[in-house]
Amino acid sequence: MKEFIHNFFVTIYKKFTKEGFDEVMKRFAKWRLASLLAFAALILSACSGHPYLSTLQPAGEVAQKQYDLMVFTTWIMFGVMAVVGIIFVIVLVKFRRKDDKIPKQVEGSHTLEIIWTVIPILLVLVFAIPTVIQLFDLADVKAMDKKNEEGKTDALVVNVRANLYWWEFEYPNEGILTSQDLVVPTDEKVYFNLIASDVKHSFWIPAVGGKMDTNTENTNRMWLKFDSEKADDVNNIFYGKCAELCGPSHALMDFKVKAIPRAEFDQWVGNMQAVKEPVQATEPLAQQGQEIFNQSCIGCHAVTPANTTPEAARLAPNLTTFGEREKVAGILDHTEENVKKWLADPETIKPGNKMSGTYGELTPEQLDALTAYLMGLKVQGE
C-alpha cells in the first residue's frame, strides 16, 4: 500500500519524461491485479452497513432472496471481469511498442467471436431463470384476495398511504390506523397495498426487502416478511425510506418499522382498538395542551385510531401513539425539546411540509403544554 502511494505521487511530482512515465505504468501494471483482489476482499468483508438499514444484512425472506441473487450475480460478474482483466493485463504488458515494425494486421477470428457470443448468452440465461422465478414469487399476493366468511383476509394487510412528507399505515381488517411507525408481526407474510395521496413516493425498508412505488392513480401490492432473530439484533426497529423524489423534504421522509412477535402485535392491536374516544389528559399542563390541540390541531390530526374517517379527510398523521414513537416528524430524536422545536418552526426542520403556516406563532407556554399533551399520547401504557 505504501509503495502504491509512493508510486502515485512519484508520477505526479516527477518531471514527465516518456521513459519515466512508461516505467511507472509498468509498476502500476503489477498493482492492477492486486487492487482487483483488494476490491474483492473489501466487498466480502464487514463493509455491510447497519443491520437496521442495509440491503447487505437481509432481515426478511424478500431481502434474503434478493441478497442471494445479488451475491450470485456478483460472483459471476467477478468471473467475467477476471477473464477480461487477465487478457487486459497480458495485452498491456506484452504488446507495448518496442520497435518500428508494423504488426500483422489480423481481420478477426470466427472461433473467438462464437466463443464470446455463446458464453455470455449462456450467462444471461443463468441470470434470467432465477430472476424470473423470483419475480413471480415476490409478486404473489393471492392471499390478499382470499376473503373469509367475515369478508376479511386471513393474511395481515396494511394499506400504506404516502403523503408529503409522512406515512399512514391502515390495518383494514383490524379497523385501526397509525402513522410514521409501522407495527408488524415477525415471521409471517405481511401484505401491503401501496398508494400515494399527492405525488409519487416509494415505500422502502432496505433491510427487509425491495421497494415498490406508491402511485397516485393505482394501488400497488407487495408482501414482506420480518425475521424475528434479525429483529432482535436491531432492537426490533428497522428503518424505512421514501425512495422517489417527491419534493424538498424527500430526504427527510423516513419512517420506522417496529417488528415484534405476533403475540405482542395482537396486544398492540387490542390496545389500539380499545381507544374509542380521545384519551383525556390528567396532568394540568397536558390538559392545557389538549385544549389548544382541540381548538386547532384536531382539524387535521386525529387522536383515535379507528379508520372510519374518509381518506380524503385524513390530512395529517394520526397522533394516537405519538408519545411512544421512535422519532419526531420522522427524523428528530424523540425528546421534548425536539417536539417543541418542531412545533415552533416546522418549515426549518422539513422545508415544504404541509403543516407550515397552518397555525400562528406559539408562545413558550403553549409549546410546553402541547408537548406535555402529545408526549402522553400512548396506547401501551407505561
Partner: protein, 624 residues
Amino acid sequence: MSTMAQKKGFGAVLWEYLTTVDHKKIAHLYLIAGGFFFIVGGIEALIIRIQLLKPNNDFVSAGLFNEVITMHGTTMIFLAAMPLLLGFMNAVMPLQIGARDVAFPFLNSLGFWLFFFGGVFLNLSWFMGGAPNAGWTSYASLSIAQEGHGIDFYALGLQISGFGTLMGGINFLVTIINMRAPGMTYMRMPLFSWTTFVASAMILFAFPPLTVALFLMTFDRMFGANFFDAAMGGNTIIWEHFFWIFGHPEVYILILPAFGIFSEIFAIFSRKRLFGYSSMVFATVLIAFLGFMVWAHHMFTTGLGPVANAIFSVSTMAIAVPTGIKIFNWLFTMWGGSIKLTTPMLWAIAFIPSFIMGGVTGVMLGSASQDFQYHDTYFVIAHFHYVIVGGVVFALFAGAHLWWPKMFGQMLNETLGKITFVLFFVGFHMTFFIQHFLGLWGMPRRIFTFLPGQGLETGNFISSIGAFLMGAGTIVFLLNVVITAVKNEKVGNDPWGDGRTIEWGIPSPPPFYNFKQLPLVRGIDTYWIEKMEGRKELVPAEPLGDIHMPNNSFIPFMISLGLFIAAFGAMHHGDQGNTWGLPVLIAGLVITFGSMLTRSLKDDHGYHIHKEELIDDEDKGVRA
C-alpha cells in the same frame, strides 16, 4: 473567392461563425457550447458533492439542491454530452467518408442554433424564478405540482434543443447514405462513421416520443390539459413510459459514438486494424435495436406486474452480449499489436475496466427482482456514472486529444494531457466506486442531506473528495487548450503518424472544401492502405473540377431566436394578470415561420470554386 486563409477582424470572424454552414465550423461551435455547458454541469456536480460532504449540511437549501441535481443531469446529458458528440460527428464523419460537407449544410447550422437557444433558455431559469427541480426525469406527478416556471423552462428548453438534435440525426443519416466517396461501401466505413450512422438512426426514432411527452407536459402546465391529472382521468405513468422510451435509447445514442471513437483509437495506437470489423458493426446495430426494447427496466418498481418486469429484465440483460463482443474485439485489436501510450490511448485503456464495471452493475440492475433493492438508490447513480463518465466522458477527452490537430491544426500538449488523465481517472473512481455501497447500505438518491448515525458519513466524504480531483483534471485540460492555442505550433496531415482513415490524408485543418478531388477508397482503413503501398496522399477518384459550395446564412439563427422568444410568451401567458404572453408567443412564431418562408421563397444555388483557384492552392498549401 480566394481559398487562402485571410487575416480577419474579430467582427468578421464572429459573423462567419454566426452564419456558417460549414460542418467543420459548426463542429467548433458545438465543442465550444458543449464544453461551456460541461463546465456548468461540473460546477453543479461540485455543489452536490459539497452539500453531501457531511450529514445535515446546509451549504444549499433542500429546494435549491433539487434544482441543482435536476440541472446537473439535464445539462450534462442534453447540453454537454450530446453536443460534444455531435461536434465530433460533424468534424470527423464527412472527412472519414470522403464527403465535402453534410447533406444539408443549412439544416446543420439550424440544428446547432436550436440546441444553443434551447440550452440558453433552460439555463436562464436560474435567473428567472428558479430552475426545474423534479429531476432530469421530471416525473409527472411531482413536476405538474410545481408552482413557478422551473418545469416550464425544462419542457420548452428541451423541446427546442430536441428539434435541433433530430435535424442533426437526419442530416448525418442522409450524408452517410448518399455521399460516401467512390469505393466506400458500407462495410469499408470507419467504425466512428458507423456509430454515427447508427446513433443518428436512434435519434430519429427516440426523439419523437420525447417531443410528445414534452408537448403533453407543456399542455398540462401551460394550457390546461389533463394528461397527467388523475382527478380528470389522466395518468402519470404515461409520462414515465414516454420518457424512458426516449431515455433508454438516448443513453445508447451517447455511448455508441463513444465506442466508435475508441475503435479508432485502439486501431491507430496499436498499429493494427480493428479486430472483428463485421462483428463490431453487427454488435453496434444489435445494441441500437435492443436499446428500444428495454425501457421499462427504469420502471421495475412502478408496478407493471411480474410478466412485464420479466420480459424487460431478460431483454435488458441480453444487451450485455453485443457489448461484451465489442470489449473482446477491442482487446484483441491490441493483442499482437504495437501499443503506444499516448493520451488518447490512455483514456481508451482506462475505459475498458471502468466501462466493464459499469456494464456488470448494469446486468445486475437488469435483473428485476434485485433491482427492487437497487432502484432509486446510489447504486444506480454509481452504475450510470461508471458507464457515462467511464464511457462517454473518457471518449470525449480521448477524441479531443486525437482529433484536436485535425480540427485546429495544433497538437494538445501530451504531458498536460497525461496529468489531466491521472487526476480525472483517480477522482472518478474515488467519487463513484463507494457510491455502489452507499446505495446498498440504504441511501436513496436525490436526497439533499443524509442523517447522522446511519452509516453513510464516510462514504459520502470520500465521494466528495474525488469530485474535486475531477474538477482539477478538467481545469488542467482547459489550461492545455489555452496554452496550445497561444503556442500555435502547426502540424501536418498525420501528426500521430499512424492515422488509418481518410481524415489523416488531408491537411490539418482541412481546406474549407475538404477535398480538391474526392478520394478513391480501395478498402477498410483507406489512408493506411495508401501509406503501406508507399503513397503519401490519397488516390483521387475524379479529375480536378469546379467545386459546388453552399452559401452562408443568418436565417438559422433567426429561426432559433424566434422559437426562443415564443417560449417566453408560452411560459408566461397563463400567469395571473399577464397581458404580453400571447403577443410575444405569436411574435416569436411569426419570426420563426417568417424566416422559414424567407428561406423558401428565394432560390439558393450556392457558389462554385473554380478549377483554376484550386490549382493555385497546390503551390501555396501546407503539405505534411
